[in-house]
Symmetry: C2
Subunit: 128 residues, 2 copies
């Protein structure tokens, strides 16, 4: 599968932001710079294919708005999300990967995927 124009533009935006961004954020940014940037529908579709390509990961913070983020192809990571400033820190390792084998043994369950996000107060906000 080849990258369409829409996908490329979405990737451009994601490269320039280092924050989790919603589809609407991304669309908004694109339209700010260029009135006839791809429409929202295209952004959603592009994100969908980027996610299935493993170039982008979707993150669910439980607020009803999915966020997206560039990742190293095929990898993923989780976040410490500050409830005060909403900034997020990446965890450098996935805590679940190591547990998969144990889960398979104990429950006979084949792990295919997972959701994990941690909420709290970050270092900076604690200091205040």
């Amino acid at each position: 599968m080849r990258l369409t124009k829409g996908c490329k533009k979405v990737l451009d935006v994601l490269e320039s932001i280092h924050e989790l961004s919603s589809a609407q954020d991304i669309h908004g940014r694109m339209r700010n710079e260029d009135d006839k940037a791809p429409g929202l529908t295209t952004v959603y579709r592009s994100l969908e294919s980027l996610v299935s390509e493993g170039l982008v990961q979707a993150v669910d913070l439980g607020d009803g708005e999915r966020r997206y983020e560039l990742v190293k192809p095929g990898e993923h990571h989780h976040h410490l999300v500050c409830e005060s400033c909403r900034q997020s820190v990446h965890l450098d390792q996935c805590l679940i990967a190591e547990l998969e084998e144990g889960i398979r043994h104990k429950y006979g369950f084949q792990v295919k995927g997972h959701i994990l996000e941690i909420f709290g107060i970050c270092k900076v906000c604690t200091a205040k």
Copy 2:
């Protein structure tokens, strides 16, 4: 805080189901049995207070629909959700609780809460 009628009915339904159920599910069931059971708004409000009381936990499976489940007061647990039959198995311990101290040290981040759900194929469905 005292339990209102609405809350009690919601609790009744949750006691009778042993599955994760959405607000709409719960409301539907209540209305099936009794045409003038509390309305959807009340169900949402009741769930909100039950959650904040720690009697019910909200579970986010990333599909935009929150599910609810009775828990022992103040406790919570995570799930192995089967992508084939949608049944879920409870994990008997929270994997995150043990990590909180490490996270505080390593990142200076005070953990307040988390989302964790694991997806895959359950024992029964694997056997098929």
